[in-house]
Symmetry: C2
Subunit: 178 residues, 2 copies
């Protein structure tokens, strides 16, 4: 296998990442949020356009306002922060919505992994592709109509209740052809 | 900051990942491909549906056939393997194409990171959302019409010519609201 020193820990983080919905209520440090956002922006994007912007929320009143219109983001009540990853079609390769979504999704996955690496927990709760949820997030945060809020990612200190799942299924792999 | 032992190496891999287009031509071991696919399947998906399947190609004739119809995947000529990540709408939450694409994209980002962690290189070359490229990939690999080949990810040993870019831009971060 590899001689790369990063191998074991990086793969360990990929496998230990889980959707964390149970938070202690502790704050998340500004330093950790900065590391997480930095990881998000290290994601690949089509033709290097980086068609993403981020809204980072730490104020309790705003977290609560987001939560009110998002039935699947109730764990915001104990989260220390949330990051909303936005796809910006106007900046995407060929101005395609598809690339704004795909590139923003790569950034989001990096954010989820970085949170795990830092000993924090996070979970993707969807805004896109639901018109009503996206509208709520836009209203609460003042996001322009031509920008797509992909998700609301609550971030916090995990209680430990959430565990990674084994999701490997050999039958999902096709060898040489389908 | 964190006490997590994984922090530095996992974040280092996120930041050292780059689109690798220059390969030595060496083969990629079956063991490494297995690790990479395993990382792909560890990605999150909406409501845990894992709506993805993978085609892993190592045969030179098939890599060349893929290359013939994909102008932006010419680096397949020196790649040791390729993975095609497929989104399967029929298995996705609410059978939504959007989730097949988003969940498959999270798996793809894990694949790119795992390749980097193993000392290999990889690059996302798009099939979706281009009808012609997707049709070519479907034909070469026998992928069903209702399955979406998102990409062709050539994987190989990097020559070292490709370097990570600094993509951090503070102005992409909005504090508390847009």
């Amino acid at each position: 296998m590899s001689k790369n020193r990063n191998v074991s820990d990086a793969l360990a983080v990929i496998h230990s990442r889980k959707s964390v919905r149970s938070f202690t209520g502790e704050a998340v440090s500004g330093e950790d949020l900065e590391e997480i956002l930095r990881a998000g922006m290290a994601a690949p994007s089509a033709v290097g356009r980086s068609p993403w912007e981020f809204v980072v929320v730490t104020e309790r009143a705003t977290l609560d306002s987001l939560r009110e219109g998002l039935p699947y983001a109730q764990m915001l009540d104990k989260a220390g922060a949330a990051i909303v990853v936005c796809g910006v079609p106007a900046k995407a390769h060929q101005q395609m919505v598809e690339y704004a979504v795909i590139d923003g999704t790569c950034a989001s996955e990096n954010i989820l992994l970085a949170a795990e690496a830092l000993g924090l927990g996070a979970v993707w709760t969807a805004a896109y592709p639901y018109e009503d949820r996206a509208a709520h997030v836009r209203t609460v945060l003042g996001i322009p109509a031509d920008v797509i809020p992909l998700n609301v990612i609550p971030i916090g200190h995990p209680t430990g209740a959430d565990k990674p799942k084994e999701k490997y299924r050999a039958e999902m792999i096709h060898r040489e052809r389908w």
